[in-house]
């Protein structure tokens, strides 16, 4: 597969390491009252869609950026690639 890196352009997926569901960015608030439940779901419950899937890829043999790649698991079509750091910030993550 070819992943169109936002900075580097098209790169062979062999340069990347796959992690999985991009929801891993949304780590729950450990201070929340429901934190125990939320962390359990965060750590263990994943969707496994046949179709569009947002997932995390690490450009290990490249610039060491984490990317959020939107990939159709049926066709391998990649419709969107973003820097995970930007995605994290857009989700309100900070320090």
């Amino acid at each position: 597969m070819i992943i169109n890196h936002p900075l580097l352009g098209p790169r062979d997926s062999a340069e990347f390491v796959y992690l999985g569901d991009a929801n891993l960015i949304e780590r729950p608030d450990p201070e929340a009252e429901t934190a125990a439940r939320e962390f359990y779901e965060y750590a263990y419950l994943r969707d496994n869609p046949a179709g569009e899937h947002r997932e995390l890829w690490f450009h290990e043999a490249g610039d060491r950026s984490w990317l959020v790649v939107t990939r159709n698991t049926l066709t391998h079509e990649i419709s969107d690639v973003q820097m995970a750091r930007d995605v994290a910030r857009s989700k309100g993550r900070s320090k």
Binding site: L8, D12, A14, E15, E60, A61, G62, D63, S65, M83
Partner: protein
Amino acid sequence: MHDLTPITALGGTNARVETIGAVTCSEVPDVALASVTARLGKESQTRTAVKKIIKADAPDVSRFDGGDVLAFWAGPEQWMLEAPFDSHEDIAARVKSVCKTNASVVEQTDAWARFDISGAEVLAVMELLCNANSRAMDVGACTRSSVHHLGCFVLRRAPEMFSIYGPRASAGSLLHAIITAMHTVA
């Protein structure tokens, strides 16, 4: 002066040079490296510092620039600075003194082994080694690519000359891959 004698990445006292057909591969140990990564919010100050050091604009994504001391792009807001070893063994300290707290500076001199590959058939060798589109790289282009399963930096220094920086501990494996490719092309 200290009394410890250095060895090259390949374990020798002298740099190794191999010529097969129209391509030559040279081990280049006489190079000092330091990484410079901008601290959060200090990106423009870091670029200014890099510019001061290399006397050229801090290179953009997948580019390198500079003269005796040059910088190549290594990651988002991160550059690798390269200089002659003899005059710049203390490169990290010198770069840090310019960047101050605007950037994180790390000595990388011996993290890498550099091989320069040159000759008329260099493109044919490069396309056996890595998936980077070496034909499309102009002089001044650099990229990180995988050679023989090793994460490397590839720089096109001249129309018929590339540098490959590979992890120092695997210099022998990297050289094996380069030599094999040179035989295939020769």
